[in-house]
Subunit: 243 residues, 2 copies
DNA sequence: CGATCAGACTGATCTGCCTCAGTATACCAT
DNA sequence: ATGGTATACTGAGGCAGATCAGTCTGATCG
């Protein structure tokens, strides 16, 4: 029940050892708790002066639409993740945020965020750290889409998701619950849904992973890691980097 | 000769109106001026406890290598850009940084950077802003590689580069000097060099842009913007966001 | 309890981009 | 001059993944 228990506080604490005062400043950041139904955008591109959110439960995805009507999902956010930092900093959102499931999140008003950064610099540094980790993830997606083939990319995606979920206690080494449809996977991986389906079947037939009925089950972790050339160091590190 | 003139200070000033004291703290960040020859990596993946740099002249690229031997260039950095922030924050580099041309850069020791963030929170916020702009750029590359075809992607790339260079006075509306080879373009855009060559020829034959002899000349800006579905708002904004 | 609909899945065909295998050209060192 | 090396450029052929056009299943609902 202490504030350290919040997944977001735990995440920042992994970067910067936060004092009691900093933790309570972080706690005061959590504004109204809001609930969003699946499917209707929380934030849409071009929207100005909206709030950021700290995700408490449920999954969301961040995506951009192109003029042709196609979309590219940039990333999925899971509980403990910070939503819309970039959009708040720039006052106008440069991407859309859509709940994948029903979502609960704490609102963080933009003004509060900036004021808190000014007063508690170590918290600002911690958020910079968290933002950098998110960027590292986007970079990894870029590399995947640019240079990995469909099978490697799919395997890599499932492994990354598993590693992230494990950090917040929502996955084990053998699998996790995953509410994504194959269409969403396709939009995230830069593939067609048809092709995702075939790649998932191959991964299943190879005895590596199954992704069925909202569950990902990893049957051969080593094989999957080898296939995807997966190196999770960009997601994790040991101990606070700043004491 | 005042410190506001430095391209990096100018860039941060676009985000946060910096006081004289903050500007001189920023100035003290600039450590030894170093020169690097083209082609030999400044930082390589896995390297620990290296410095960050503020690029004074020349171009560099940030890239990752995959096990198969292919590489993906994540971004190019031009004068005024900050190099290796993410790698410094995480103590170990997650990507390589290679000079495209001969490069001059000021070293920024990691410890100085973190100490300065602690003492001048508004500077930390400004750097968070700059980092967010970089992330927005990576996101745009991700969208491009995921959902734009080769021609659109190439056009978009040339436009983005032009817009960035214009911000630091290295481009006009009609073109800019560009030291990149077609191989580098290919590695950045997730295409083969052969295909880049054909797309450049098409863009030339369509009367949109030429990229020859180290110069990009834009002949039909509107046509190019329309083809690439280019929206430069992610690169720019008007006036400091924090007074 | 049949209708409707979203998601999973499949076969056939098409195409954008890759790979291979060169030639052409400029620049550098000797 | 002369060979060497990097980059630009081209044609032919192949393949990964897209597109099209479905079927099948399980949930939801009037």
């Amino acid at each position: 029940m202490s504030i350290q228990q919040s997944p977001f506080a735990r995440k920042l604490g992994a970067f910067v050892a936060l004092s009691g005062e900093e933790l309570s400043a972080l706690d005061r950041l959590h504004g109204r708790r809001k609930t969003f139904p699946a499917g209707r955008d929380i934030v849409h591109e071009g929207q100005v002066n909206h709030s950021a959110y700290i995700l408490a439960s449920g999954w969301v995805c961040s995506y951009k639409l192109l003029s042709g009507g196609t979309r590219q999902i940039v990333d999925f956010q899971i509980p403990g993740d910070f939503l819309g930092l970039r959009s708040v900093l720039f006052r106008t959102a440069d991407h859309n945020i859509e709940p994948v499931t029903k979502v609960e999140a704490s609102e963080v008003p933009a003004a509060d965020l900036l004021a808190t950064f000014g007063k508690t610099p170590r918290l600002a540094t911690a958020v910079l750290w968290a933002a950098s980790r998110d960027e590292a993830m986007v970079v990894e997606h870029l590399v995947g889409i640019g240079r990995r083939d469909a099978k490697e990319r799919t395997a890599h995606f499932l492994l990354e998701l598993g590693a992230r979920l494990k950090l917040v206690g929502l996955a084990t080494a053998s699998g996790y619950a995953c509410p994504l449809s194959q269409y969403m996977l396709a939009d995230a991986l830069g593939l067609s849904a048809v092709h995702i389906n075939r790649e998932l079947r191959e991964l299943r037939e190879d005895g590596l992973v199954t992704f069925q009925h909202g569950k990902v089950e990893i049957h051969d972790l080593d094989g999957l890691v080898a296939l995807a050339d997966f190196d999770k160091t960009y997601l994790d590190h040991d101990g606070p980097l700043l004491k």
